[in-house]
Point group: C2
Amino acid sequence: MSGAPALEKLSSNRVFEGELTKYKFKSAALGGLDAQFNLFMPLNPGGAKVPVLVYLAGVPGEDDDWDFGTGAGFYINATKPEYAKNYNMATHITVELPQVIEAAGIAIDWKRQSIFGHSMGGHGALTLYLSSTTKQYRSASAFAPISNPTKCPWGEKAFKGYLEGGLAEGAKYDATELISKATEPLHILVDYGTGDNFYKQGQLLPENFLKTARDAGYDEFQVRVRSQEGYDHSYYFISTFASDHIHFHANFLKA
Amino acid sequence: MSGAPALEKLSSNRVFEGELTKYKFKSAALGGLDAQFNLFMPLNPGGAKVPVLVYLAGVPGEDDDWDFGTGAGFYINATKPEYAKNYNMATHITVELPQVIEAAGIAIDWKRQSIFGHSMGGHGALTLYLSSTTKQYRSASAFAPISNPTKCPWGEKAFKGYLEGGLAEGAKYDATELISKATEPLHILVDYGTGDNFYKQGQLLPENFLKTARDAGYDEFQVRVRSQEGYDHSYYFISTFASDHIHFHANFLKA
């Protein structure tokens, strides 16, 4: 009897040189709630194991209060009692999803993982990469990430809401705090647009992340943060630079 | 006093190396109804005129009966009295849009136009290209086009509904009928997926178009119709081959 829940296939579409499949399963990390994810697998006649690049969405939630609630767990493990059962998004991404996919017999080489994301998902990608003591991911990248959440309204609200220890506990989920203490080699790429209203409102703070990375001794070959003139927070921005990011990760995943 | 209605800018997003703008105007060809279109313009510091590639969407309509109604004019000019005032989509695309855009001072070189589209929009692209006596478009391409509408349920319904002369009048809006009579050099690319349910149901009939093109003497360098294994009718199919189609048109637009 396997401990991993069964994957239910919801839909499947041929796209580019592979197949995109939508799956559903009962997530223990999310308190038994249904979790969904999409998995792209290349055409792979030999069945050789392939590397995986995890993408974390920005705002998948359905709530009016979109930065707090069902779909918007900030990719942390909640510690406040009222959330601790259903909001363990960090465990969901880093531990549960690989277990569930592996148990389903899908041919992924888990020794070759990288991670990227947009906005809150960019925050998730950077923090899960930087906080992994097992070097789970080979590289991380982000579009318009919330780069210093203990210093912006969205992050303050999330950490005070989800964490018993509030902002102090939130430091371990803050990319800027994490990189200030980092010592190992890093592979990070960040893009943000100067026309992004959330950037202008001080929700993203990529400059804080960049300055702290440089202060910690990381040069542009290890941590690259690019300001993109005129781009906003939307899908148009992501789609413009998505190809760049995938090529960036391929450098490390193919090795 | 200009005859062309004013363009209202609804939104604008930087994307790739340019700007995508959504416009609205009161369309005479559509009986005074509001018409919307998106225009991508490359960053163009010199202001030189650029060629235009027209994309016709498949099902932009909002109706339950999606293949008949507001958004789904089949890219023809209706002749039945109850539709003739509001359904002149052929005129809207080929005459009115260029006039309105030109009047707004947008720097397009109208001598370099090509056209493509998806599903009903693919039908529109092929028929507007093939029926232009002025060679308005240099090339045409289509994703999963309705290729022989006088022989499929969707086309029969549309032509009988919109046209006084029914299917007989519809022949001039049927890509297969049009290519059977064509004599001039052509530049056409068509892709369809073998996993497309509408293809399987006989709504698209690309084989009819291909066979008729060959019978009319067009080889694969002038009319290429590609069967794509396993792809369906969705955006995943379009996105996979969009780059191919744009490069195809660039060959002719850059000349």
